[in-house]
């Protein structure tokens, strides 16, 4: 799988540390795993101009180079807040916002850093003052609820779309 990375300056991109870093780990793992499963030969990332994000992609790319050499599909991973554009030449689109483009059919969606996980994270911080045991309990609950299949209230969502192309008839 050939991985390309384009960057867009994004002042809203937070520092990639703590839960933000964990979120991006999940996001990138989902995108790479889905692109691999969909037999993509090319995966084009558009991400914020962040060294940390690019490093995380590069690490995953190392494995990707050894896989899907027979793949056919072309995928776009649109990981910036800007309105998605230039999707026509791709077979699959991964993005962080729901899109209403008529040519895209949703295949699956994921929620990352869910509201439940944030709630457990709050308990974690409070309990850390008085009980190491309870801190670990809440840490485990926060981790267990951090990502979810489907749509839940969350900081990030990953949508996986397939491009539906109309067959042009040349019949009589």
């Amino acid at each position: 799988m050939n991985v390309e990375v384009s960057t867009i300056p994004s002042p809203t991109q937070r520092a990639v540390t703590g839960p933000e870093e964990l979120s991006w780990r999940y996001i990138l793992d989902i995108i790479f795993a889905q692109a691999f499963g969909l037999q993509c030969q090319r995966l084009h990332f558009v991400v914020a101009d962040s060294e940390a994000l690019q490093t995380m992609i590069t690490v995953r790319q190392t494995v990707g180079q050894r896989s899907n050499s027979d793949g056919q599909g072309q995928a776009l991973a649109w990981c910036v807040p800007d309105v998605i554009e230039g999707i026509e030449s791709y077979d699959y689109v991964f993005c962080l916002k729901k899109t209403t483009a008529p040519s895209l059919r949703i295949l699956s969606q994921y929620s990352i850093w869910t509201r439940k996980a944030r709630l457990w994270g709050l308990f974690l911080r409070i309990s850390a003052i008085w009980s190491t045991l309870m801190r670990d309990v809440y840490m485990n609950r926060a981790n267990a609820e951090f990502a979810a299949s489907g749509h839940r209230p969350a900081r990030y969502h990953v949508y996986v779309y397939r491009m539906e192309r109309l067959e042009v008839s040349h019949g009589s």
Binding site: A33, F36, T62, V63, S131, L133
Partner: protein, 431 residues
């Protein structure tokens, strides 16, 4: 098409003797071979800190410690070239997977894909170095030396004169320092270069600094010291066990009996915390409370190895439990009670999907233990007889059928992994 057999049918009573060890080892070796893919040994990871069931590609992490040390031990005891080839194969994985800076690719274990994994890179280098001591083949010496030099450069704190857990973060994690110290000691021995010993001593001294001197948990070593001054009050039997051999090595290298005494103190803690059914809790807290689960199965090999290192008799209950838990695939399951990480009353049966999943980075510890226990004369090996199996498990509280074949893990209809591929397939990864 493989025939599936029911979970209960393949269990057999056993005691640890040469025959049972040989049979277990040959099955485990066959399973480890099923876990290979381009770049090395892969597979999913279930762990206390985090699970990784999406990335299933190679991990150049602590799994190479047990694999390299275990197979080189088998080579030493039997002279069977098959084991030497396994050592050479694993050595090549690490050589080819080393980055220009000296790190190993995908060295984060449960945090993979990631580099600069601790203690994973030091553990993999320790595997290289100890296997070199056995085989005499020093061609991977530059790989290990470059890796350890890189770790020193990234983690050494010149002000506090110790090793940080992460670059720029002042915390100390004693069990990781123990592994690093041992690797540096062996590197110094192999290269006759004593410059590594100052760092090795600083690392092992920090391990001893966080050992509890008295009280009910006397001898236990804190898991973490976030401010490099105070232990965090979390005592993991598993991670304590990982400190024992490095302390023994330090006592020899520095000719200082304090380290050996510290190792014996750790063993007291391991004896004290063993449950009546021959298992160990995940964490004991200084408050007297505990996180009882998950209790390691494959990982318990590391605790038993600590007993073996000090020449103490192994508790037979845990060893028999370990041997009888071996799966029809040849792998060893990870744990009991993963579901109780988040719900204290979650059922143990059917088990959580993470309990039964065999993980390469836990099974290497079984390989190291069993190869160490094997008598030197055992050079007749039966043919492996690994087979496919299925059983009911709970995944996000829902019952599904887990199946392991020679080349796949299947988790109901939700998730599947081809052992030769780096990414899992399926949409319903989480609840």
């Amino acid at each position: 098409m493989c025939m599936c057999i029911a979970w209960r049918d393949w269990r057999y009573p056993t005691v640890a003797n040469a025959d049972s060890l040989t049979r277990a080892l040959v099955q485990l070796d066959a399973w480890l071979e099923t876990m290979r893919q381009p770049g090395g040994y892969g597979g999913p990871v279930a762990h206390w800190w985090h699970d990784q069931f999406l990335y299933t590609g190679p991990g150049l992490d602590w799994r190479y410690e047990g694999i390299l040390i275990g197979y080189s031990e088998l080579w030493k005891k039997t002279g069977n070239r098959q084991w030497l080839q396994r050592v050479q194969q694993a050595t090549e994985d690490l050589k080819l997977g080393q980055t220009a800076a000296g790190s190993f690719a995908m060295s984060g274990f449960e945090r993979n894909p990631e580099t600069l994994g601790t203690p994973h890179e030091a553990a993999a280098s320790l595997g290289l170095l100890q296997s070199m001591q056995v085989t005499g083949d020093r061609t991977a010496l530059p790989t290990a030396r470059r890796n350890l030099a890189h770790l020193v450069q990234k983690l050494w704190d010149p002000v506090a004169r110790g090793f940080n857990d992460r670059p720029g973060t002042p915390g100390r994690v004693p069990n990781k320092l123990a592994t690093l110290s041992q690797a540096l000691c062996v590197l110094a021995q192999l290269t006759n270069d004593n410059q590594w010993l100052d760092w090795a001593k600083a690392a092992i001294d920090d391990v001893v600094r966080f050992q509890i001197p008295q009280g009910p948990f006397q001898g236990a070593i804190h898991q973490y010291a976030p401010d490099n001054q105070h232990g965090d009050g979390r005592l993991f039997p598993f991670y304590n066990a990982r400190c024992v051999e490095p302390l023994v090595v330090a006592s020899h290298v520095f000719n200082d009996p304090r380290y050996l005494a510290a190792a014996h103190e750790v063993l007291k803690f391991l004896r004290y915390t063993m449950t009546s059914d021959g298992q160990w809790p995940q964490i004991c807290y200084l408050s007297g409370q505990s996180a009882a689960y998950p209790r390691w199965i494959a990982g318990s090999a590391e605790i038993l190895y600590a007993f073996h290192t000090l020449g103490e008799p192994l508790p037979t209950g845990p060893l028999d439990q370990l041997l009888t838990s071996q799966l029809p695939s040849g792998g060893f399951p990870t744990a009991i009670g993963f579901a109780r990480k988040t719900r204290r009353r979650a059922p143990l049966d059917p088990p959580d999907y993470r309990d039964v999943t065999p993980v390469t980075g836990w099974n290497d510890k079984v390989l190291r233990l069993l190869s160490a226990l094997l008598p030197p004369s055992a050079d007749v090996w039966p043919e492996p007889a690994i087979t496919t199996y299925s059983r009911e498990v709970l995944m996000h509280r829902k019952p599904i059928i887990f199946t392991e074949t020679f080349d796949h893990f299947y988790y109901g209809d939700h998730l599947s992994m081809r052992k030769a591929e780096p990414w899992a397939k399926g949409g319903l990864m989480w609840g």
